[in-house]
Amino acid sequence: MKPTCACQASRQIPSPPPALAEILNRYAPQKREYLIPILQETQGCFKYLSREAMIHIAHHVGVPVSKVYGVATFYNQFKLVAPGQHTILVCRGTACHVRGSDQLLRAFESELGIQAGQTTKDGLITLDVVACLGSCSIAPVITIDGKFHGRLETKDAARLVAEIRKGAGK
């Protein structure tokens, strides 16, 4: 049968960039069960899932690009846009909520002038929320590039953002 739809046409795509090809080569082709691990590794490498990467992955796994997109948008882990240089994750777990993480999040939002899930215009800082970091004993807690900061108050937001900006020389 002749390819008719866009995803079938993607079979004639150029070969993937080397870093992605290396990831794909580690997984046997045409196996749906490897889709999520491949997406995870790709995001680990490129920080997000680009449209091109998803087309290559669909081709490797042997499913339509729409299915890959469906999976990528279903799970919280996957990002479809490039994040900023630094990421602030505000924990929105129950223990943090009870100890005031909603005010803390608002403080970060007003400090950065963006909403949760967005990146500052200069591409420096991404603000995001996470369901639970599991460090409830030091609630409310956030991570900045994976480093934990616990027992925070709203006034700490300005200080932490200033520290990131200072570190970036801005």
Partner: protein, 658 residues
């Protein structure tokens, strides 16, 4: 000067150079040898243990570890450094334990770099114990619980006598914080993998009978009897069966599974291997959250160690049985806690539940019979097999056997990970173990079971904690999150918080959950928002939604497709049941008794108290404050967005909130 950071390699005896076998394990020789090797490695040396679970790391544990390593390298101290998991006393992280030769292991809490300096200078260098920094005396391996306390240390409590530990009964958490999770030898020295050897000698049906007789019920939420689940899968004829561990701990405010995986990974692997043998599965999946990198690291290492000595792989323990494990990382979806959604996720699809039957025990992963159990369930299995069903069923209540691990958090003095026998009361957990409410606050509610659970009020404090009593009280066991709330917590806000969460996590497959929860959220939003005007039908809408609230909740509960959808309204139903007056205060009086729902507040500047400094005017994000310097200011009500910044910054406490 020898600086030593023992990993598995440096304590390895000849023990792990060849594959283990069943008779060998049952003879107790590996256990004795591992213990002896450990003793020899530590003999005459001082050992320093640093708690480096996620909570320890989050509190700055790595910094302490690096400082100790640097001191070791510079020759200032000569100790063996060991990493341990979390003992559960999270409020006191970073915890550092020191075991000197001939002395019991002593534990220091809230260790900062300065305090570490004191500890090293006085205890390690001069042998003077800085008593004010000591938490207690903990148990150390391989010595075990029987040790004498020197006379000059009288007055220092043993850990098990501390209020936080006294009422706990640790089966699942026994090794957490005591053993080095990276060391298979330490697990063997603590009696590890003997239960697997014993199980492999028993017929499969007998293993299942033992688990059934123990009364173990699934610890992930529903409380389905584990033995029965295994039996369904056992009875299926199939060329391939799977056993899956659900470690996708998505409940906000819960970290039980994480701590077990980080602190004692071999225990769950042993439990899974026993389960795999019992149902006839040769392959197991561990579905673990990608947000738990440390747990993934510990599991990967443990699986690797097991493969090397024949505990996993082909012909395990020379028994003729194959069993191997694969790690699958969950990509973050709360709904994957539901069995059929988890299966879809393993298969590489969107994690959406499907109708049952067929149950996973009949057609699960790739259509093959599959058993899915929670981390804590598997962690109980080795002890049940080794000590027997009768021992296990002697703990707990008539219908809920054994213990339960809870993540005790929120407005409680001692947050942490606790394990208590079933049937203990909420009061004992919160006041005896947790040390009560901080800052003289008043207990208001305990949220049990996460987004699927409910809030229990003070009148339920004496409810025994077991599956059935909790369901009757309107909550559920859930996976073990227990969040304590005080009088500053607004129950409508809590319900709204959980509904927000489930709405965002709803997979969108069935209408009751997708649309119904969105409706619930709208209703709760109108309750906590101050109306812009009383004109039109806004007020009518408000009241109408209140009438609809309970009805919609019940509708979702009765018609949603999966367990998560059906239990999603629980936070509203339980707060409506016990805290109806708070809803009424919000609706009729436009008043939030806890002062949490900001948009119902009004801010007013007390003219007498205001000195006219102008700070509030400067900080107000909406320019709602007017006034001249040195004259009292005024808040323009229509412009106020009730953010509360003015009240926070006012140096004279002149902002009156009502």
């Amino acid at each position: 000067m020898t600086t030593q950071t023992p990993t598995a390699a440096s304590t390895t005896s000849s023990l792990l150079s060849h594959p283990l076998t069943i008779p060998e394990l049952l003879s107790g020789r590996p256990r004795a040898e591992a213990a002896a090797a450990l003793r020899a490695a530590l003999d005459g040396k001082t050992v320093v243990y640093v708690g480096l679970g996620t909570c320890g790391l989050a509190s700055g544990g790595m910094d302490i570890w690096n400082r100790l390593e640097a001191m070791n390298q510079s020759g200032r101290i000569a100790v063996i450094l060991k990493k341990t998991g979390c003992i559960g006393y999270c409020q006191n992280e970073v915890m550092v334990d020191i075991k000197k030769p001939g002395r019991p292991r002593v534990s220091f809490g809230n260790v900062t770099p300065e305090r570490l300096e004191t500890i090293v200078a006085s205890y390690l260098e001069k042998d003077e114990l800085p008593r004010d920094l000591v938490l207690g005396i903990s148990e150390s391996y391989p010595e075990g619980p029987d040790f004498a306390i020197p006379a000059e240390w009288s007055g220092i409590p043993r850990f098990k006598d501390l209020p936080f530990f006294r009422k706990q009964l640790r089966i699942v958490l026994r090794n957490c914080g005591n053993l080095d999770p990276d060391s298979l030898e330490e697990y063997l020295a603590a009696g590890g993998y003997q239960a697997l050897a014993k199980a492999l000698r028993m017929p499969r049906a007998q293993v299942i009978a033992e688990v059934t007789a123990s009364g173990l019920r699934g610890r992930g939420g529903g409380g389905f009897p584990t033995g029965r689940k295994w039996e369904f899968a056992f009875r299926q004829e199939s060329d391939q069966k799977y056993i899956v561990m659900n470690a996708d701990e998505g409940d906000p405010g819960a970290f039980m599974d994480r701590s077990v995986l980080e602190g004692d990974p071999h225990r769950v692997i042993e439990g899974m291997a026993i389960g795999g043998y019992a149902i006839g599965a040769t392959k197991g999946y561990i579905y673990v959250r990608a947000e738990y990198p440390l747990a993934i690291e510990k599991l990967t290492r443990a699986i690797d160690q097991c493969r090397r000595v024949g505990l996993l792989g082909k012909n395990i323990l020379d028994s003729g049985v194959d069993f191997d494990l694969t790690l699958k990382m969950g990509a973050g979806a709360f709904v994957c806690g539901e069995e059929t959604a988890l299966i879809a996720s393993i298969e590489g699809k969107r994690g959406m539940p499907r109708p049952r039957p067929p149950f996973p025990a009949v057609a699960g992963v790739f259509g093959k019979p599959t058993v899915i159990n929670n981390v804590e369930t598997f962690a109980n299995v080795p002890d049940i097999l080794w000590k027997g069903a009768r021992w296990f069923s002697s703990i707990g209540t008539e219908k809920s056997k054994g213990t339960k691990v809870f993540a005790l958090t929120g407005k409680v003095n001692l947050s942490g990970l606790i394990e208590v026998p079933m049937g203990i009361s909420l009061r004992e957990i919160i006041y005896d173990i947790g040390g009560g409410i901080p800052q003289g606050g008043q207990f208001k509610a305990a949220q049990i079971g996460g987004p699927s659970g409910g809030c229990l009020p003070a009148s339920c404090l004496d409810t025994p904690i077991d599956y059935d009593s909790l369901i009757n009280a309107g909550a559920m066991m859930g996976s073990g999150g227990l969040v304590v709330m005080d009088d500053k917590t607004c129950m409508v806000d809590v319900a709204r918080y959980f509904i927000n969460f489930t709405r965002a996590e709803s997979c969108g497959k069935c209408i009751p959950c997708r649309e119904g929860i969105a409706r619930l959220q709208e209703m709760l939003d109108t309750i906590v928002q101050a109306p812009e005007s009383e004109k039109g039908n806004m007020t009518l809408e408000r009241f109408k939604s209140v009438i609809d609230l309970r009805h919609t909740c019940e509708l979702i509960r009765d018609t949603a497709a999966c367990g998560l959808g059906q239990t999603a309204p629980n936070p509203i139903l339980s707060t409506l049941r016990y805290f109806k007056e708070e809803y009424e205060a919000h609706i009729y009086d436009r008043h939030c008794p806890a002062g949490k729902c900001k948009s119902l507040l009004t801010f007013r500047i007390e003219p007498e108290a205001c000195k006219g400094c102008g700070i509030c005017k400067k900080k107000c994000p909406n320019a709602a404050i007017v006034g001249e310097i040195k004259h009292s200011h005024y808040i323009v009500k229509d412009k106020c967005i009730r953010c509360g910044v003015c009240a926070e910054v006012c140096p004279f406490k002149a902002i009156h909130v009502s």
